[in-house]
C-alpha cells in the first residue's frame, strides 16, 4: 500500500494519496481553547500524532505553548508523538492529569 510523505505525496506515484479519518478528543484547558470536546479529521495515512497537533496549533495558536506539557494518546494508550495514525484511530492530547 503506498503511503505519502508528510510534505505531500510523490507526484510520480499515480496512486492517490491514502487518507485516514481519525477521531480527536480534547480535555480540560485544551477543550476550552479548541472550543470542542471531539473532532473528526482527515489526514494523510501514517501521519504522526505530531502532524495532527501542528494542524490544530495552526488553527489555534494559543495551543502551541501547551505542547511541551502534553502527552498524546492513541486508542486509549499513551503514545509517542511520532506514532503514525491510521483510519479509525482515536487520538487525544492530554494535559497533565490532576485526578484523585
Amino acid at each position: 500500500m503506498a503511503r505519502c510523505s508528510l510534505a505531500g505525496y510523490n507526484s510520480l506515484v499515480t496512486l492517490p494519496m491514502q487518507t485516514a479519518r481519525v477521531k480527536v478528543l480534547f480535555f480540560g484547558r485544551l477543550k476550552e481553547i479548541v472550543g470542542r470536546a471531539e473532532d473528526s479529521v482527515e489526514l494523510p495515512d501514517g501521519a504522526p500524532i505530531e502532524f495532527l497537533f501542528s494542524r490544530y496549533g495552526a488553527a489555534h495558536p494559543e495551543l502551541t505553548p501547551f505542547r511541551a506539557s502534553l502527552v498524546a494518546s492513541r486508542n486509549q494508550e499513551f503514545a509517542a508523538w511520532s506514532t503514525p495514525l491510521h483510519s479509525g484511530d482515536e487520538v487525544a492530547f492530554l494535559p497533565p492529569v490532576s485526578g484523585g
Binding site: 508528510l6 506539557s69 494518546s73 487525544a92 494535559p95 492529569v97 485526578g99
Partner: protein, 160 residues
C-alpha cells in the same frame, strides 16, 4: 482455546453519584482478610491559600477506566493482596465530598498499605482525569502531573 481465568471481582469504576464508602469497603472485605486499608481523597476547602468553592472533575472516560484496570492488575502482581476497589467520581464535587476512594484487602497489613499507596500514587500520575478548581475570584485547571509517555521513535517511517 484456553478458558479465561475468572476475573478478580475487583470494583473499578467512574461514577457521577456520591461515593458510598461503606459498600465499597464491604466489597473488598472477606473472612480470609486480616487487613483492609482505605484511602479517601476529599475536596479540601482550600488550595494554595485560596478558598475553594467546588471542583469539576472530567475524564477521558474509556482511557481512565482502562488505566484504572491496569493499576488493579499491577497491584495483584506486585503485592499479596486479596481484592481492590478504585472508584473515582466525576462532575461537580462540593467541599468535603470524596473524589476518589480506594480500598485494598489482604491477609497481612503491609500488602494492603503498600498497595493502597501505590494505587493512589499511580492514579495521580497516569489516569486521564482533570479537575477545575472554582474559587470566589475565578477558576483554574489544577496543576497536574505529566503521565509517562512512550519514548519517541524516529519520525514515522513511510513504508514503500
Amino acid at each position: 482455546m484456553a478458558m479465561k481465568k475468572a476475573p478478580q471481582p475487583d470494583l473499578l469504576a467512574l461514577v457521577l453519584d456520591p461515593i458510598d464508602h461503606v459498600s465499597i469497603t464491604q466489597h473488598v472485605r472477606a473472612a480470609e482478610d486480616g487487613a483492609v486499608v482505605t484511602f479517601d481523597g476529599c475536596v479540601r476547602n482550600h488550595s494554595q491559600g485560596r478558598g475553594t468553592l467546588y471542583l469539576d472533575y472530567e475524564a477521558y472516560e474509556t482511557m481512565a477506566l482502562a488505566k484504572i484496570r491496569e493499576i488493579a492488575e499491577q497491584l495483584h502482581e506486585k503485592f499479596p493482596i486479596h481484592l481492590v476497589a478504585i472508584v473515582h467520581r466525576l462532575g461537580r464535587l462540593q467541599i468535603g465530598e470524596t473524589s476518589v476512594y480506594i480500598a485494598v484487602s489482604s491477609e497481612h497489613r503491609p500488602a494492603a498499605f503498600e498497595a493502597c499507596r501505590y494505587a493512589i500514587d499511580t492514579l495521580k500520575r497516569t489516569v486521564p482525569i482533570w479537575k477545575k478548581e472554582y474559587f470566589e475570584d475565578g477558576a483554574v485547571w489544577a496543576d497536574g502531573e505529566m503521565p509517562p509517555a512512550p519514548p519517541e521513535t524516529r519520525a514515522a517511517n513511510p513504508a514503500s
